[in-house]
Each structure stands twice: as structure tokens, then as C-alpha cells.
Symmetry: C2
Subunit: 193 residues, 2 copies
Amino acid sequence: MDRRARASQKRRRLTAAAARVLHEQGVERTTLADIAREAGVPVGNVYYYFKTKDELVRAALAEHQAHLDELTAALDELPAPRDRLKALVEAWTAQRETAARHGCPTGTLAVELDKRADGTLDAEAGAVVRRLLDWTAAQFRQWGLPAPDDHALTLVSAYQGMSLLANALRDPDIMTREGARLLRWLDSLEVSP
Amino acid sequence: MDRRARASQKRRRLTAAAARVLHEQGVERTTLADIAREAGVPVGNVYYYFKTKDELVRAALAEHQAHLDELTAALDELPAPRDRLKALVEAWTAQRETAARHGCPTGTLAVELDKRADGTLDAEAGAVVRRLLDWTAAQFRQWGLPAPDDHALTLVSAYQGMSLLANALRDPDIMTREGARLLRWLDSLEVSP
DNA sequence: GTCTATAGGCAGATAGAC
DNA sequence: GTCTATCTGCCTATAGAC
């Protein structure tokens, strides 16, 4: 393995650690030392890969975006839009323990970043949310339902809401109950003849 | 005005300032100096009224709780449970500009406090959310609908979700669209004969 | 009760040896 | 490229004058 490969591997370790720790502890309570320790990299060395803490946050956001793209790409393999959306809901429910402990990675990050006067990073968090919203709307549109954007808003909003409540009340069961309702809702929707 | 009254007035000013500033900037990014300035109180003097920063956060949470209790008390004046719930949704929609800028005060506070290892304050944030959930469930129950707890979860979850998305995308219109849908949903619910 | 001055500690960032 | 040592600044909290 040459120097270039090793370097980018450390960068990747730092990015993965940042995504994980920032989700668990939040941006403000996480120190560079926390991320460095988790990645097995000395603190001072972090600055060779990321010039500022904000750049690490940016990298973590990109990591979450990538995970989301992976998920939707897998769902795109399913033939029927309704089944893709149901599989999405099932993926959310499967993450109920994590959601109860730390909330939705993107959602909680967006909340925290929106509190900052500096309005650069919060726009990037919004972009990740928007991408999910767009993918969801595309499914409803392909399905042939009217007002696909409104349906997408309802579905993603329900996800963010149930994640927040599960987190606030530390109760994964909330994800199960709301997830089941969303599945029934998707089953009940029909294209008008 | 005697000394006692003046003292508690300063305390109240600090509490109100804390509730406002902590909602706008978040807990971690808000310094005691920020709150003191907003309340017109010298920084060092804060400690006469609140021994720690956490106590100020606690006071802010209690303030939000009190606002919520005021709102539900007013709604309790309406005769029909359905109308109380619809008025609740309308109250949420009316706050759309604030929600788009800073999110739901209780919801965003809960998200932030849940990131802390110290598990004392996050339980208190959860309690505020739970109180809203309980009041909402009581309305559905009195209305005579089955599974009032599930209906309450759906409604409050929708509120948290739409507030988060409105905030993340900085778009108050999201509150309007989802609020209108929730009103239609409440109108569509009927007690089975 | 009110306020000033300051202690104490920690986190982000940098300089520079290797 | 890697890492150690350290600087700087800010924030919570306290001591103590008035």
C-alpha cells in the first residue's frame, strides 16, 4: 500500500468516526479529540486531513448522504414504487433502537446546525433532507398518485417526527407503532380510476 | 415594590430570556453572557439566581411547559374534542415563521439534550413532550375514537416532523401544507356507529 | 442583594521536530 | 506525512468589594 492509499484510508477512518460520534454526541459536545480517538489518530494529525472542525462536520454529512444514496439505490431495484416506499419504512423501523438512542442522523444534525448563526453548514444538512424528499416524491409520481410532493412531505415528516419522539421518550416502540401505521397508509392509497 | 418582588422579577426576566435565547441558539452555543445581556442583568449576577447553567436550562424548559399548559387550558374551553384538536393544529400553523427559523422549542431542546451523556435534563425535556401527548390522547379518548394513544402519537409526531422539516429547509410553507392535511384528517375521522 | 474582576479549565488551532 | 507540544481565546463559575 503506497503513501497515497494510506493517507486516504486515515481520512476515511476519520470521516467514518466523525459520522458516528457526531450523531451520538452532537456537534457541539464532540471534541476533535473524541473523533481522533475513535479513529485511532493523534489529535494534532487531524488537521492534516481537515483544516477545521467544520470540514469534519461537512464530511460526516456527506457520509450520511452516501448511506442514504446506497439505500435508495437498493430500493430502486424493486419493481413497484409502492413496494419501494414500504421497504423504506421497514428500513426506518429496523433502525428503531438507534433512533431511540440518538435520533435520525440527518434530522438531529440539521436541528443542531440550524441553531448556528453561520448559515453555511445548515444549508448542507437541508440538502440531504431534500434529497430524501425528492426521491420519495419521485416514487409517488411514478406510482401515479396526485400531489406526489405533498405525499412525500407527509411520509418524510412522519419519519422525522417519530424519530424525534422515539428519541425524546427513549422508546423504540414508537418507531414500531408509527411504522406499522405508515405501512397501512401506503397500502390504503390507490390511483383513482 | 419590595426587594423580594424585584428579585423574583429579575429571576423571571432571566427565565424568559433563557427560554427565548436557548430556543434560538441552542443550549451549547448559548453562553450565560448571552442570556444575561438579553435579560439586562450583569453576567456575574446570574449566579445569584441560578447556581449553574443547567438550572437555567431547566427554568427554560419549565417556561415552555407553562406556555403549553396555557394553550391547552384555553383549548379546553371549546366544547368538542375535535375542535380542540383542530384549534391546536391551527395554533401550530400560526407559529410557522418561528418554526421555520428555529424549530419547535421543546422538540429542538429535546434533541439537543438527548445528546448529552448526563441523563438528567433530557428526561425533563421528554416529560414536556409527554404532557402534550397525554393531553392530545385525552381529546381522542373523550371523542370516543379507538386507540386514542396511537392517534395522539400520529398527531404530535406529525407536528414534530413538520417543524423539523420546515426548520431544516427554512420553509414555513411546509407548516401550512402539512397543517392543512392534518385538519382534513381530523375532519375525516368518525366514531364508528 | 448587586456587581466586578478574575480564576480555572478546556477546546480549537498552529508551529515545528522528526 | 506524522505527531508532540503548546498557544490562544473563550466560557463557566467563584471570590469578594460594595
